[in-house]
Homo-oligomer: 536 residues x 2
Amino acid sequence: MTEKWQNLIGANAGKRLRLLARQPYDLTLPEALVVKNRLERYICDCGGMRLLYATQRVTDEVLDALQDLADECGLVAQFQKMRRGAIMNRISGYESENRQVLHTACRDLFSDLPAEPGATDQARGELAKLKVFLEEIDSGKITTAKGEQFTSMVHVGIGGSDLGPRSIYEALRPYGQFGREVFFVSNVDPDDAFAVLAKVDLSKVLVNIVSKSGTTLETLTNEKIVREALQKAGLDPRRHCIAVTGEGSPMDNPEEYLRSFYMYDYIGGRYSATSMVGAVMLGFFMGYDQVVEFLRGASEIDMVAEDLDMRRNLPLLLAMLGIWNHNFLDCSTLAILPYSQALHRFPAHLQQCDMESNGKSIDRDGNLVSCKTGPVIWGEPGTNGQHAFYQLLHQGTEVVPVEFIGCRKSQKGMDVEVAGSTSQQKLNANLFAQCMALAVGQKNSNPNKQFQGNRPSSLLLLDQLTPKTMGALLALYEAKIVFQGFVWNINSFDQEGVQLGKVLAGRFLDYLSGKTREDSSAEARFLKVALKTTDQ
Amino acid sequence: MTEKWQNLIGANAGKRLRLLARQPYDLTLPEALVVKNRLERYICDCGGMRLLYATQRVTDEVLDALQDLADECGLVAQFQKMRRGAIMNRISGYESENRQVLHTACRDLFSDLPAEPGATDQARGELAKLKVFLEEIDSGKITTAKGEQFTSMVHVGIGGSDLGPRSIYEALRPYGQFGREVFFVSNVDPDDAFAVLAKVDLSKVLVNIVSKSGTTLETLTNEKIVREALQKAGLDPRRHCIAVTGEGSPMDNPEEYLRSFYMYDYIGGRYSATSMVGAVMLGFFMGYDQVVEFLRGASEIDMVAEDLDMRRNLPLLLAMLGIWNHNFLDCSTLAILPYSQALHRFPAHLQQCDMESNGKSIDRDGNLVSCKTGPVIWGEPGTNGQHAFYQLLHQGTEVVPVEFIGCRKSQKGMDVEVAGSTSQQKLNANLFAQCMALAVGQKNSNPNKQFQGNRPSSLLLLDQLTPKTMGALLALYEAKIVFQGFVWNINSFDQEGVQLGKVLAGRFLDYLSGKTREDSSAEARFLKVALKTTDQ
């Protein structure tokens, strides 16, 4: 029996929100930020993070209506079902993936009663294998051919097997074990793999090949490049290559790999960073115990996400504020701007996780959606962005809602005082100033120095970026994305939109590699025009 | 006397285009790409690049109207005036920067009659200084304290002094001289500078500090961090630091810097990559002659940009196709997707150059604009993006126009054959496939496997990414952005939108560093809420 869920368009709260959106809160009025203790009341604490949202164009009335919308659509109830193993990855009445969605099970390790015990058992099993493997390479039981320690890892994957792990590695570099580093290869562009190979000492490298299906074109191609390089260097690839893949996939082969770790089909690639997809690399880099801290941070957020009260449920709150800006205030994009150089690739991961999940036009009953679904997600770290695209945020004709992310303390604790303040103070002064400037704007007799204000943003503050808070930050966004998918009543867990490109790429490849002879098809004519070298 | 220019709203061609936009060309009809030799006719060759634009929703009629719009707005005439030194950076009737716009003069070195001889003379003068300096470090006339060669450069800058140089460095890494590499520090986040310092051998480092004003907060702060690190290592900063700055700026000081190179106030930061801002770093890295090739490529495009015929003038064509999608087909964003790992940071540079130039709401007469100006620009390299956000491009509710960039040959020429094709063939098969898939779409009885198509894109093909074609690519986008600013009749050369944030940051910093005592202002209350550490 198929459950039917209410969506944004059908809900009564949706109608109220449309009315309220005609006159959203005016952040440019005098005292707009301080009346009714707005700054102090519009906060939410959770998992070591605090969200300040007084600079959103919301009122108590809007928040109440958003809460009602969340209730009518059963968002928390659906999240609970998801964590407990319901088949959430499906389209009723049509062929679809028909799978459970259980990335949360990977970190449901800290309670006596996991939500889906079977999946958590599998996660525990893989973690135990990883722990043993890490002990073996630490203790010297597994070594290079020369009996030395492995010092670097080349992580080969693409999409979900790349962006999440890579952005988390970048975020947690100060937590690395002495002498260990990780390189990433993803693109099928051969320049990518060869550039990385030129940097590493192959004799001391562990190669971690990550592909759930074991058939990802880019990854298999890059694996071959790396294996050939090892062989050319007189090394035995089987002593260097490990795999993260689905049990029984073509890559699950002990004759080819030193060790295999499993991922399961109830975890989508873009939600897989807390599975072995991220854990093997992170374990090599920063050790097993820090991986557990990372998972602990994620788990805390999964628990909070089951709270029905939006004002205490941070992922739900972030989701509903996004719905207000996107569906009711009609903003097409969302900028995610971390004031932390360590988070410089985190927006790219969220771009994937969000846009691949919610860039859909069909609801879970196979009908064309009647509202806008997922926004375009983009972002770069501040303060860099201030010297780049912030001009448009302040004075452009497109209103871009912003989610700022900041840390009270730097990671390394090293700093310098210039002109009476530290770098960390300057960084945060800029962060807070942007949040406020976008909201309140500024009048001026010179029209070019006017700022309209009323550009909504939130500010998420971590005390410090650590394995645990990074886990929390990741899980916060995963849950936010899932909640938004539920509001739109779409399937956030498949990715049929990537299939057509694959089919056409195969056709082009047949021409390029000579398998198909030239003819008068559009593809052949396209190629002829594309490949003709122009005169210089 | 102030010249008045026509804009998109006032032009007759604008009205025609609005009518044509009601029924844009349907790319999903059978044979839509091949009728009337569309694939073969809708191309433009220029500067070693070819643009294929049959997959845009245009017809001959639309193109004619876009040409008329370009003519009515005098786009090419304005570009010519700009190159010849007109004061294009101004708002009539209001206080404004009132400056010439002469980044093109930096590369106008290959004709006997430069468009603005004075500025080109200054560029030649700086290049001659650079050539001498590079010879001195190559020949050993200038060395480290130990008499050794400098092997690495730390380039310190932010915004225009960072994103352009950094993205070009990344693009041209295979062209580096043996043993030389460059690191970049930009963010005021102290973790950024300290991470770079941990990687380099300070005794062999040249530190290149880049700031036109000589007063950029982030850059001065990072300079201090680097100088202190040098001193701690027992090194004399004056033997390691060079400067790129405005003549007479606080940084123009021979007692503090080994050498200074100048930039002039007629070049905006985001357009400065072909000035000393990019040239000093590139010269150190790949040698003087390759810098000249880079400038040659840019110069070729500047010449083409003076052609009145849009179908031959590649930057103008790219600009007008963008206007069609943004102002007439109502798309809010533009994705720039290079199928080249070497170009992985080029979208970030264009994001700055475009959004800081054209994210404006006031026209050049100080009136509120009555049309949408600059779009949100974003992008990541393919094929990576295909495994990330392409789902939304194909099946989302937001239509995102795409500018694909590809190269027929890889840079390194190293490759591997897997399953009967090389990586470069796979890369390009995917590139061509995406372009076509977005356009033609696909019907299917399963609604979730349907592709609506009619998602516009262009494909820009380089034969290979070299210093010269990189220069051409850069200048192509610079000119495109300038042309679009002219269509909207805005000033693409100032950035007043960054000022309010600076003022407010100063106020927050006064509280943070204890200069202002706590009071009941919104800023103080904001800080109190933001800085209170949450319980874990």
